[in-house]
């Protein structure tokens, strides 16, 4: 380690950052001197970490997340914390308590979410790579909307220690970058076992993206090209898959019938877990202080009412309801069955094909404030949540434009085959460059 630092004072016209570190120290190593942005739900020792929520305003973690430790060890310069939907709850980054992030391709549009700040920071040329987190598409959606590469690794491949939990059983920290090579390099640094995360596995990642995909079998699920998917987006993605065929891959049509219940299973699971995870924010130990003149539950209620945003309160209430006595079996337990069905469908398909490909998002980036009702917003996650429910790796790579906006090609793979998913994306990237 040497005492280097880089200067980081961007204009940030897209409001990608919540916090920047004008003098960012860094060391030597694989990422020596490279500016890396970190999503604001990942704990950074000494740097304010808010999850874009008022309830964590002023919270400076006394410890680094495992991935942040690894970043520092690799020599990376952590230059700032990026904007997001509050606690990761959203698909547009409009749910940030500190104002939305804008899409660098069209500032009238959202960058996607919830890792919108990380995607915009890369697409806007402020950093080369960034960490995002993906609970139901939160890396892949903004990657697709902003025309960059983002990977949600296999569940357990990257330690979640220090990631402020929204939905523990679904989410993963993952790399985002301008190119597949950058994403691969960042994954190499953050992947591997961490004894502080009991759900992490000893599966380190050694990158050697190979563009040779001859003989690869690609499953094309009909649900990814059906109702609700913008035909223009579907057309761009179909063309991209054609390029993969030109590289020697073959395609096989398939279906994922369990997708009918995937979105419901996802929203029940994530809201249940969130209602429990977010209960600790009570104004006692961090964040805006509770009024100690009042009885404790009154003080809790006031702090939570005043400091959580609308969408967060909605999800806490949904999850609380779904876990309530008498409803657990109706909602949470059923959601887990639906989840098993999704896993089973993927297992079946992956016995016949190597990867699955389709669009990342059903549309291009929405206009700001376009998705005003929560249901239509939830529906836009339909193509990304299956990978979270099944815990499989899924990546979004830019594959062209529709209506002047970037479109993402989503590639999903077998558990622990993040390498293969990256290879396919790399092959595509090489083929079109």
């Amino acid at each position: 380690m040497t005492g280097h630092e880089i200067t980081f004072e961007p204009d940030d016209p897209y409001h990608a950052f919540l916090t920047t570190c004008p003098r960012a120290p860094h060391g030597d190593g694989k990422l020596g001197g490279i500016a890396v942005a970190v999503k604001d739900n990942i704990s950074t020792k000494g740097i304010e970490t808010t999850c874009a929520s008022k309830i964590l305003k002023g919270y400076i973690p006394p410890y680094d997340a495992h991935v942040v430790e690894l970043l520092r060890q690799s020599g990376a310069a952590i230059v700032g914390k990026t904007n997001m939907d509050e606690f990761g709850m959203g698909t547009t980054t409009e749910n940030s308590a500190f104002g939305p992030t804008l899409n660098p391709y069209d500032t009238g549009r959202v960058p996607g979410g919830s890792s919108g700040g990380s995607a915009a920071a890369i697409a806007g040329g402020m950093v080369r790579m960034a960490l995002g987190t993906d609970t139901g598409g939160s890396i892949r959606c903004p990657a697709a909307f902003c025309g960059i590469v983002g990977l949600k690794p296999t569940y357990g491949r990257v330690s979640r220690y220090g990631l402020i939990a929204y939905a523990n059983s679904l989410e993963q920290i993952g790399p985002m970058g301008r190119t597949v090579t950058d994403v691969s390099a960042l994954l190499e640094v953050i992947a591997g076992h961490d004894r502080r995360d009991s759900t992490s596995y000893d599966k380190p990642y050694s990158p050697a993206p190979r563009a040779d995909i001859s003989g690869l079998k690609i499953g094309i699920p009909q649900e990814y090209f059906g109702a609700g998917v913008d035909p223009q987006v579907a057309a761009v993605v179909t063309r991209a898959i054609g390029r993969l065929e030109e590289c020697g891959a073959t395609t096989v049509p398939c279906t994922i019938p369990s997708m009918e219940y995937a979105l419901a299973a996802y929203y029940v699971t994530c809201t249940c877990e969130a209602s429990s995870n977010l209960a600790r924010f009570d104004g006692v130990r961090y964040g805006p202080a509770a009024d100690t003149k009042k009885s404790w539950h009154e003080a809790y209620r006031e702090v939570r009412q005043a400091s959580f945003g609308t969408e967060v309160r909605r999800r806490i209430m949904l999850g609380t309801y779904a876990l309530s006595s008498g409803y657990y079996g109706k909602y949470y337990a059923k959601a887990q069955i639906a989840r098993e069905n999704v896993k089973r469908d993927f297992t079946r398909i992956f016995s016949e094909v190597d990867v699955i490909a389709g669009p990342t998002m059903p549309t291009i980036a929405f206009k700001l404030r376009e998705k005003s009702d929560p249901l239509s917003m939830y529906l836009s996650d339909i193509l990304t949540v299956p990978a979270n429910l099944a815990g499989i790796p899924a990546l979004s790579v830019p594959c062209g434009k529709a209506g002047g906006m970037p479109v993402g090609l989503q590639i999903m793979g077998r558990p622990w085959e993040d390498e293969r998913v990256i290879d396919v994306a790399y092959a595509y990237e090489q083929a079109v460059s």
Partner: protein, 500 residues
């Protein structure tokens, strides 16, 4: 009318005596340190921190499960119990819910009707202790609470019994036996403050059940149950009914009080803890070998040291007591076994209880054990008689209790001026004076006979009690320093001589 049947079931929470907490590496040895000094991101519930299961605590819990004859489940699971309370930093407790570590066992106790009685164990599960609230100020002004998270994350096991106990006494026996078993397993230290907490379910047959929470001492359990039985019975006798409710035990006043809070309506919204994987312990549990448990040790004490059943039960009913007994006996296996049996099981226990002390208070300093062994040696060698020995023991215990510097039994004897009086040899004193003038025993006999003419008369009239009274007076005068057998003989002789 038949006595109303009392039905008692217990839920016992015990802190497992591990070195580190259940889900982090923080030390569990927090009691002598300042508040919030044994904490880290995990046990403070800081955002992003994750639990990592302490394997040792599961091992400990499995030992308990095996010792209580439970079936350890092939797969158990941790769940979150969600509720808001300021001592609960994550606003949920990580515990076990529908897949506990172990189920269906039993513990044998000495039943009220004599003989061994089986109390069935419903389940055993592992969970984390919450932090602790320290209430400051008073009701009039400055009323507030401070939170200490040192205790947060200490491993607990909850042992749930079936409602198989029929009296507060049986409940106490169950608890004592359970405590002994846990200590024999080296998983629990009853001496640590707050290491055991009990919730009791109690009902009179045919009526509603009441749950009494917050009992934090062994004695408290019996007291709380006695209070509750009286309360419930008197309600029923007045023709009122017992409400199904949760009550709190107020230790200071020895009463139970209805919890008016909405606690009963708590909906804990349990769901599996997503940050921990399910536990598979089958092959692990098979490898666990249990040490000697209280029942086995009791039988061994009877067979090896000739202890009576009751004494053996008492001696083995507490690990430290049993160890103390064996330490003492080991000093002189032939000479001390019989003596140690009565001296420890009757005399020492009585004196300790009288002073509200435990064997730990005495035995934690090795010097005291040595002193006790020396004391028994003196008694064995007739260098000190029982009554003297008891006086010395009392001094020893008072010294410990008051924190005074240690004295050996001989030093105590000397300080108190206790010298065994030689009455049998009848030799002359060094001064050459005649025996009757110098021998305090002879003098004491003469004095007693002079001072108690009425008793002497009663004796001659054939009243048996009179002789015992005179002996008592004699013991007092000689401060227990004379051989009781010799006293007996000499007094009889003297009285008979006088009569002639």
């Amino acid at each position: 009318m038949a006595e109303e049947q009392v039905i008692v079931g217990l839920e016992v929470h015990c802190q497992l005596d591990t070195k580190s907490k259940l889900f982090c590496g923080c030390s569990t040895d927090y009691r002598s340190d300042g508040p919030n000094t044994h904490v880290c991101p995990v046990c403070l519930g800081l955002p992003g921190a994750m639990p990592v299961l302490n394997k040792r605590s599961i091992e400990y819990a499995m030992r308990v499960a095996k010792a209580l004859n439970c079936t350890v489940l092939h797969e158990s699971e941790f769940s979150r119990k969600n509720y808001f309370y300021p001592d609960l930093d994550k606003a949920y407790q990580i515990t076990q819910y529908d897949k506990p570590l172990a189920e269906g066992g039993y513990l044998e106790i000495e039943g009220d009707e004599g003989g061994e009685k089986r109390i069935r164990i419903t389940r055993i599960h592992v969970e984390e202790d919450p932090g602790r609230l320290v209430h400051m100020g008073n009701a009039e002004r400055g009323k507030y609470s401070l939170v200490d998270y040192n205790r947060a994350g200490i491993p607990l096991i909850e042992i749930v019994s079936e409602p198989d106990m029929r009296s507060p006494k049986e409940a106490r026996k169950f608890l004592n036996k359970l405590r002994a078993t846990l200590e024999y397993l080296s998983v629990f230290d009853s001496e640590k403050e707050g290491s055991l907490r009990v919730d009791a379910n109690i009902s009179i047959k045919g009526s509603e059940r009441v749950e009494v929470k917050n009992i934090s001492s062994y004695k408290g359990v019996e007291k709380a149950l006695l209070f509750e039985i009286t309360r419930q019975k008197s309600l029923l006798r007045r023709g009122q009914k017992v409400d199904r409710e949760t009550r709190h035990y107020i230790e200071a006043r020895g009463v139970t009080q209805s919890s008016r809070s909405k606690e009963q309506e708590h909906d804990y919204r349990y769901f599996p803890e997503p940050d921990l994987r399910p536990l598979h312990v089958q092959s692990w549990v098979e490898g666990i070998v249990l040490p000697e448990l209280p029942d086995a040790r009791r039988e061994r004490f009877i067979a090896r040291y000739g202890c009576s059943l009751n004494h053996a039960r008492t001696l083995t009913g507490e690990l430290r007591l049993a160890n103390f007994f064996e330490r003492v006996v080991a000093a002189d296996p032939k000479g001390l076994a019989t003596l140690a049996d009565t001296w420890i099981a009757d005399t020492l226990i009585g004196e300790l209880n009288y002073r509200d002390m435990s064997i730990h208070d005495l035995a934690m300093d090795e010097k005291n054990t040595t002193g006790f062994i020396q004391l028994l040696g003196l008694v064995k060698d007739r260098k000190c008689y029982d009554k003297m020995g008891i006086d010395i023991l009392r001094q020893m215990l008072d010294t410990v209790k008051q924190g005074r510097p240690y004295e050996t039994p001989l030093e105590i004897m000397k300080r108190l001026g206790l010298v065994p009086l030689d009455v049998a040899s009848g030799g002359t004193s060094p001064g050459g004076a005649s025996l009757s003038e110098t021998n305090p025993v002879t003098r004491a006999i003469a004095e007693v006979i002079t001072e108690q003419p009425a008793a002497v008369e009663d004796f001659y009239k054939g009243k048996k009690g009179a002789f015992n009274f005179l002996i008592g007076q004699l013991m007092k005068k000689t401060r227990g320093c004379a051989d009781p057998g010799e006293l007996n003989r000499l007094l009889t002789e003297e009285l008979q001589t006088k009569e002639v």
